[in-house]
């Protein structure tokens, strides 16, 4: 209609290098109630265009007929449920491309229910103690829709709303454990702390979630598939809030050195 040329079609059809014919995968298998010990099974799956890691798992079940257990509920980075460890790295499997050779294991730091399915309940239970709903202060009740609010005021809170609770940041965090709920919990606290409509003492919740035990290594930001600046915006912003509210002990934890894997909590 306006003289479009098909130039874009060439780009669409292959700016990436030619993919391999098959993806070779080694998958962690373990059903604790019937298996004596975990094992790894290997499969070869024909490569399809743009293949994601999740697509490989789907093909193992649907086409090869092996009943690997894993969660997925959306396929497009909304549900956060398909997080696993791929070649040693916490990965959202609907998001990351399949590699020619892969080892797929359950997300680290969580109890395995079966195969690639982990128990998220402990994490979800902790979040429930953080009062993650809006608390409008008594002197600023809701004025009715649409309330006065600008994009600028909501910019940081909106960034936090990108969190899908996939828990990759938790699996990447070297100091998460008994005393620290992990970066995902802090993102949720920050989501309300950064909302100008909220009147709750969110700094206290950040401390309760263990912000003082965060070592500021930034592995959470690197891991986040939603591109949330976890360290730079969520945690830094909460620390500023803690300081301005007169709290102490909000970190960063001084003793941690990046790469010190021994400190990693189970």
């Amino acid at each position: 209609m306006d003289g479009e040329t098909p130039a874009g079609l060439q780009v669409t059809d292959g700016s990436a290098p030619a993919p391999p014919a098959v993806a070779k995968v080694s998958v962690f298998r373990y059903a604790p109630d019937v298996d004596t010990e975990p094992r790894y099974e290997t499969y070869e799956v024909p490569y399809t265009k743009g293949m994601r890691v999740l697509d490989v798992l789907e093909a193992i079940r649907e086409d090869l007929g092996h009943a690997v257990a894993y969660r997925w509920l959306c396929g497009v980075k909304k549900c956060g449920m398909c997080a696993m460890t791929v070649n040693g790295r916490p990965s959202l499997t609907c998001w990351e491309p399949a590699e020619p050779e892969m080892t797929i294991e359950p997300l680290g730091g969580f109890r395995v229910i079966r195969d690639l399915v982990v128990d998220r309940d402990a994490h979800d239970g902790k979040l429930r103690a953080l009062d993650l709903v809006l608390h409008r202060p008594a002197d600023r009740p809701y004025p009715g829709f649409p309330e006065p609010l600008t994009a600028t005021e909501m910019a940081r809170a909106a960034e936090m709303m990108n969190c899908i609770q996939c828990l990759l940041c938790v699996a990447s965090c070297p100091t998460v454990g008994e005393k620290f709920m992990g970066p995902a919990a802090l993102v949720q606290v920050a989501r309300w702390a950064f909302d100008p409509r909220d009147g709750q003492d969110r700094a206290a919740y950040a401390l309760y979630a263990g912000i003082g035990h965060c070592a500021d290594c930034g592995d959470c930001t690197t891991a986040c598939p939603a591109h949330i600046p976890v360290k730079e915006m969520a945690i830094a912003g909460l620390r500023e809030l803690c300081a301005s509210e007169g709290y102490t002990g909000y970190g960063p934890a001084p003793e941690y050195r990046c790469g010190d894997e021994d400190r990693r909590a189970e």
Binding site: L9, C79, I113, F145
Partner: protein, 579 residues
């Protein structure tokens, strides 16, 4: 066999953890009702509602902040939209109330709880230009996700009992009433019997029935077939929406919709291009149509017939004419395109069609969400009231909860019919088997079913191919289902067991869709039959309704009420009308 069965009692059982179920749970709990929710996936993290990308707005053009001043006009525009959205088969009295709810309740109720409707820096609400038909929560494509996240947090904060990774497997009947449900908790390998004073069925769309579907593995049609078996009527199941502009690849991303809807903060809409790079559709070809899905497909058919596109690929969405700033700031999809090496300001993105929302579903009373079976209410997209949309399904949940809360007050728990309970539990138990060893995994059977639907119930339908599809489904039923087996008898997250139940339900659901489709001898909206290519408002502006009669499906038509909007045409060329 030693199968563990757990029994639970509830005032109100809510089946489904999307927008309808979540709203119902909050409203019922608010009224002191003891609620138990069964969620096949995770509350607010699975099913259709998280996919809701856009929110109906219909504010005055170009000025969102003054929208509340023109209620009547907004309702009129919403009504007009919903009538076309349902090809004039939607319940118009219901739509009028749902439209009012959208503006009087949905937005303020959610905003009071902290929802962020996307604003400009000056505080005005971001709308599409110039018509103001849509608004968005944080971004185009993200609205449902952030809304459901809020509802999830509120429901847990209220301490409502939520059983996740637990799916209803039947509605329990006793003395002509629905008295609860059986369920399968696949995470723990345990069957449940839930007894309830009232039940709200809110299982969402049946949008996993074809090989290319926008739905995920929960959307198996179980809601339809459980309701049918419990005595409900189903309506307009043939009215199957397809999407024309979903990603052709990667496979998981077939659910990533490249919205043809009006885009945020721009007058541009997406365009479709054929194999040769010729633009054959632009949302602005029909500037007053806020949801051009139906028209995209009508235009696509012509390209396919000329060999310039295929339903499974070889045509493209283009954003090249859209301001880069709009794509960067407001469109969720942009990051996906970049992830696979595409630049939406320059490149075209290959599309293919997908099986999407259902216009039809369970026939209900649009004033109360009552199903016609005592104690059973139906809410959200599993019903036949409207095609979908988060404000609409939350309206359903709201209304169903109010009526169910009234109904359970002062009532005793109903008695179960033990023979029915045993029958329904046994149906699921007998699928917990590893024999025959050379049989099929449920996931393989489901793929076979979905492949039949892709090949025989795609966008273009014909009696001959539909009957072939029915015959193939019959062969799967008699030859493949008896050979369906699990890999192991682990009780820990044995999703295969869930899928074995799903495979049986999907076969029923798919046969229903084909039989309804054979019955309607016209083409309308989402539904195109090559052998009956006219939109026939004289004979077929009617509901196709099916119910069980002595164990057999009986299909007939029922009249459609058209109190507010009716099509101008009598009989028309399918390709020439815009609904």
């Amino acid at each position: 066999m030693g199968h563990p069965v757990r029994q639970i009692d509830a005032d109100l059982l809510i089946i489904g953890g999307g927008g309808a179920g979540a709203k119902a749970a909050i409203e019922a709990h608010e009224r002191g009702v003891k609620v138990v929710m069964l969620v096949k996936g995770f509350l607010g993290r699975s099913g259709c509602s998280i996919f809701a990308g856009n929110l109906n707005w219909f504010g005055p053009p170009q000025d969102g902040t003054t929208a509340v001043q023109s209620d009547e006009e907004r309702q009129r525009r919403t009504m007009e939209f919903l009538a076309k959205y349902t090809h004039y088969l939607g319940d118009q009295e219901y739509m009028r109330r749902a439209a009012r709810f959208t503006f009087d309740h949905f937005y303020p109720w959610l905003e009071e709880r902290g929802l962020y409707i996307l604003r400009h820096d000056d505080g005005s609400i971001v709308i599409d230009l110039p018509h103001g038909t849509q608004a968005w929560a944080t971004k185009m494509g993200m609205s449902g996700q952030v809304i459901m996240d809020m509802l999830r947090a509120e429901i847990f904060r209220r301490g409502i009992t939520v059983l996740e990774e637990t799916a209803a497997t039947s509605l329990l009947t006793a003395g002509g009433e629905v008295v609860g449900a059986t369920a399968l908790d696949y995470r723990h390998g345990e069957q449940l019997v839930v007894r309830a004073k009232a039940t709200i069925l809110a299982t969402g769309h049946s949008n996993y029935l074809s090989l290319r579907s926008t739905g995920t593995r929960e959307g198996t049609g179980a809601g339809w077939v459980m309701a049918l078996r419990a005595g409900c009527a189903l309506q307009n199941l043939e009215m199957q929406w397809f999407h024309a502009s979903d990603m052709a690849w990667p496979r998981s991303w077939m659910r990533l919709h490249l919205y043809p809807n009006p885009q945020p903060a721009t007058a541009h809409r997406t365009r479709l291009y054929n194999r040769d790079g010729e633009c054959f559709f632009d949302g602005n070809f029909l500037p007053h149509n806020p949801v051009p899905y139906i028209m995209q497909l009508k235009y696509l058919v012509k390209q396919v017939r000329r060999g310039k596109a295929r339903f499974d690929g070889g045509y493209y969405t283009g954003y090249r004419h859209v301001e880069p700033d709009v794509l960067r700031k407001y469109v969720y999809q942009t990051q996906f395109l970049e992830k696979v090496g595409l630049d939406p300001t320059r490149d075209l993105i290959e599309n293919a069609v997908t099986w999407h929302m259902n216009v039809g579903g369970i026939r209900v009373d649009g004033r109360t969400m009552a199903s016609g079976i005592p104690r059973l209410y139906v809410a959200g997209s599993v019903s036949a009231l409207v095609t979908g949309g988060l404000p609409n399904v939350m309206y359903d949940g709201h209304v169903a909860a109010l009526h169910a809360a009234d109904a359970v007050r002062g009532r005793a728990l109903p008695a179960l019919d033990e023979a029915v309970v045993a029958r329904d539990l046994d149906r699921v138990q007998r699928l917990f088997r590893t024999e025959p060893r050379d049989g099929y995994l449920p996931a393989q059977v489901i793929k076979q079913i979905r492949t039949v639907m892709w090949e025989h119930m795609n966008y273009v339908k014909h009696e001959v191919t539909m009957r072939e599809g029915l015959e193939k489904l019959h062969r799967i039923r008699v030859e493949v289902l008896p050979r369906m087996r699990l890999e192991s008898l682990t009780r820990r997250f044995n999703y295969d067991w869930m899928e074995a139940v799903d495979a049986e339900d999907m076969l029923d659901a798919c046969e229903l869709v084909i039989r309804f489709s054979l019955y309607r001898r016209e083409s309308r909206g989402a539904f195109f039959r090559e052998d009956y290519p006219l939109t026939d408002n004289i004979r077929w502006l009617r509901h196709v309704v099916g119910r069980l009669d002595g164990g057999d499906l009986k299909i007939e038509t029922e009249p459609v009420d058209l109190p507010y909007a009716r099509p101008a045409e009598g009989v028309a060329d399918f390709f020439e009308v815009d609904y």
